[in-house]
Symmetry: C2
Subunit: 505 residues, 2 copies
């Protein structure tokens, strides 16, 4: 591409570096990569059909623009990969796609269509301790609407998330989005006289642990504090007992399985005094329910669930969490959780961080690898029956022209094909074709070339027959799935094999 | 996605950061982004049809694995974005896709199909001074064959590059790949008694400037040295006059326009003593020419040109440079250059840096933005006639159900559509529809809803007519491209408009 001048360092004298990728980063290839690409393609098609336009921001942002919204990020730049530019400004790789969107929207607000619907996918980076299945770089896919305070905007994001997950390959009953509203707690705390923001935040953090700790652990963390199994003591939110009781009723209010969205709202409203903010939250959820109904989103695909809090502090209203429901059940026959595959909510203050001007926004995000893993766990491989190319075998240097001609003819006919370009013998080449997942091997030996013929080996048929025939000697004689035919019938015959037509042996 | 706990920093009290992206980075949106995506899609389809499989490596590599192959990279980590991991190891963002491929191939050599054909696209990062059109992050797209020393592998890469550029949208006569072989200079220097590697490198750097400086400048740099316009003196390679003369004859040997590949090789062979390495280089180029002929790559799409050197030091044999030939001509009627849009070559020692074991490799790379710019310069916009979604106008909060129903119906019919979700009036909504590039605005006012009808506004027809009709008052009365029809005919009528059928006013 560029016209760089060579540098002085000779290659050969340098000490040999070890061939390894950095800790916590992965290389992706083959079916895993194809699966992720198919997810992104299918979801993008849905998002564009819903009027969300693509946007790609840069990998780096200025550190102050990213803000400190990562968990446990007490030190500056904790949790992100940051470096100082030559003008001494700190830059960091984005840790999600929401912070860059807020920066972009603030920067371009005047010229954007408003409301601004955009989707984005791409890598994000987290400077965390790597672990099994825990990577420091992964692909996220987000859809957001910036500049609409309407509950219909939230409902649209939810309906879009359902449609996107379905397009990616999940059955409608394999995923569920649980929805709540941060303002329910604002109202509940307000009515209980809890006004200290720090105390509220500690209480919210406790409630966010409901899934893991159950009510017993949460109530301890809402009150005095909790001693965990390891002996560590966590100081609690010091809420009065009466407020803790309201929270308990509130969280339990929608505990029955399969409540409709409207019934959940009724149960929540009956749990106690939710204050003005809580009443507003209920109205928003009612409007969302109505819009979801019109858009045909059924009661199991999107549920209301007051236990959903979402950790990120920038959410200001509706919050949602998408869960995979594996078709496995516990001993009582109830579905068992695979866990979260995405989430989102309303963040009305994120653009105002830059401009001071309030710009309401709402969105949904999922991790592409996580969804691919969920699809595999549910028995669907989005990579499907991805096949390798037809492989043309190279017998002799003198006949390269014949091989090249065959492979060019196949490619021109739209058939994925390649010529073996190594220097190994026949056996290694057949192994190569197998590793490549080739459906057919094309053999143009000296005899075939002299006779104007070609031999095709249907490798799938060969694999099937080698399982079916027990006598190995007999099998070898039979040359399963192999046929010799006039050279000018090659393309048609291969097309027939690829289309699943069986051939006579 | 994740279940982060909230952090303590309140949003609202923080000082306001400025909304701007880091210097030298860009956000991409709209037609520019769509154009780049189409290029990547089309080229990927070709690369897969040719048996190249996708690979995505991580953004980071260990600094020692990347190596110091960037130009002017004298200080450690110069030219790259590097940072120290918490275990003190230096990591850097990849500056191209070749170095990570070499690392990946070395790391996984045992389990890879050999030869290993892979393609890749994705961002690369250069820590350079930003300038107009010069970005520090850009998308590259590469195809490489690792593990084949056959000239047919080089020929395949060249034929693939031609087919890829054509698929991206360039006419066959708009791009040309110029090919040479580093070993020609190895042989020429060897025959001239120039054995010092540093002296050879200085000479190669000088020859690499042929395009910019012409023979006069190059000959000064091959000899004593050169004083440039700014008064800076560059010390030369100190070659003997007789060797400089040979280089001159060599570079001039293929100066005639439109020599065939075979004729170029004959002219080069006649330029002087090319030594053993030079003879080997000629044989490789002859084999490449033969393979290109079989693959139907014509003489103008891929030419041999001995002035091509390529800056990157890791090339060991064949080198190529892809140029856009704009359909503009100079005063002698000859095509004028747009410049390089890609390049590549053979790099047989890059995997051996890690393993010590020689693994021959060859590949081609282009910059996606650069190619998009080239396409625009040649009068083709790969984004084509990309249209926005149908926009449903929101008249009244009370009728949201009707709007939501219409937009859901359009999306279900596969028509990109969206509901205006802001709170502005009719005029602002029509401006919004215009900014979104909407082909149709759907209007469900109170009258329409009561009558069971819908009004559709063909915005393209409106734009055409507003240009054709001079009398503004008359135009307004005519309501061009607007029709009211039964609500249940909405989808069919919009489909007719989208398919270009005109409607009666």
């Amino acid at each position: 591409m560029s016209t760089e001048a060579p540098s002085d360092a000779p290659i050969t004298d340098a000490p040999r570096p070890e061939a390894r990728g950095p800790r916590g980063f992965q290389d992706r290839r083959g079916p895993d990569l194809i699966a992720e690409r198919r997810i992104v393609e299918r979801v993008s098609a849905v998002y564009e059909r819903w009027g969300f336009e693509p946007l790609e921001t840069s990998a780096f942002e200025y550190a102050d623009a990213l803000g400190k919204f990562l968990p446990d990020a007490d030190r500056p730049n904790e949790g992100v990969f940051a470096l100082q530019d030559d003008d001494d400004q700190w830059m960091a790789l984005r840790y999600d796609l929401t912070a860059p969107l807020a920066r972009y929207a603030a920067q371009n607000w005047e010229t954007l269509p408003k409301p601004f619907r955009r989707y984005a996918f791409g890598p994000v980076w987290r400077n965390e301790k790597p672990g099994p299945g825990r990577f420091r770089e992964f692909i996220q896919c987000d859809a957001d609407t910036v500049g609409s305070d309407r509950p219909e905007a939230d409902a649209e994001i939810l309906a879009l998330a359902v449609e996107g997950l379905t397009a990616a390959g999940l059955d409608r009953d394999q995923a569920q989005i649980k929805v709540s509203n941060r303002k329910l707690f604002d109202g509940l705390f307000g009515a209980g006289g809890i006004d200290d923001p720090a105390q509220r935040l500690t209480a919210l953090r406790a409630i966010d642990k409901f899934d893991r700790l159950g009510w017993e652990g949460v109530s301890a963390l809402l009150g005095e504090g909790r001693l965990d199994e390891s002996g560590d003591y966590t100081k609690g939110a010091q809420l009065p007992t009466v407020v803790i009781s309201t929270v308990e009723r509130f969280l339990a209010s929608a505990g029955q399985a399969n409540l409709s969205r409207a019934d959940t709202l009724a149960a929540v409203a009956g749990a106690g005094d939710l204050g003005a903010a809580g009443e507003e939250a209920l109205k928003e959820l009612q409007a969302i329910d109505a819009a979801l109904g019109i858009m045909g989103v059924d009661q199991t695909a999107v549920r209301f669930d007051p236990t959903v809090v979402r950790g990120l502090e920038y959410y200001t209203g509706v919050v949602f969490e998408a869960e995979l429901l594996l078709p496995t059940t516990d001993d009582k026959g109830r579905p068992v959780r695979f866990g979260s595959i995405g989430g989102g909510g309303r963040y009305d203050d994120l653009v105002a961080r830059f401009t001071g001007q309030s710009v309401p926004a709402t969105g949904f995000s999922f991790g592409v690898s996580r969804l691919a893993a969920a699809l595999r766990a549910s028995g669907r491989d989005p990579a499907g029956e991805a096949r390798g190319p037809v492989v043309v075998i190279a017998f002799s240097d003198a006949d390269m022209a014949h091989y090249l001609g065959a492979v060019a003819e196949l490619r021109a006919a739209g058939i994925a094909a390649e010529l073996y370009l190594g220097r190994a013998g026949m056996k290694a080449q057949m192994k190569y074709a197998d590793r490549r997942g080739a459906p057919v091997a094309v053999m143009l030996g000296g005899d075939e070339i002299a006779a104007g013929t070609v031999t095709l080996k249907d490798l799938d048929a060969g694999r099937r027959l080698s399982q079916a025939v027990s006598d190995n000697a007999e099998w070898k004689q039979a040359r399963p799935g192999q046929q010799t035919l006039p050279r000018d019938q090659m393309v048609a015959a291969i097309r027939a094999i690829l289309e699943g037509s069986s051939i006579s042996d």
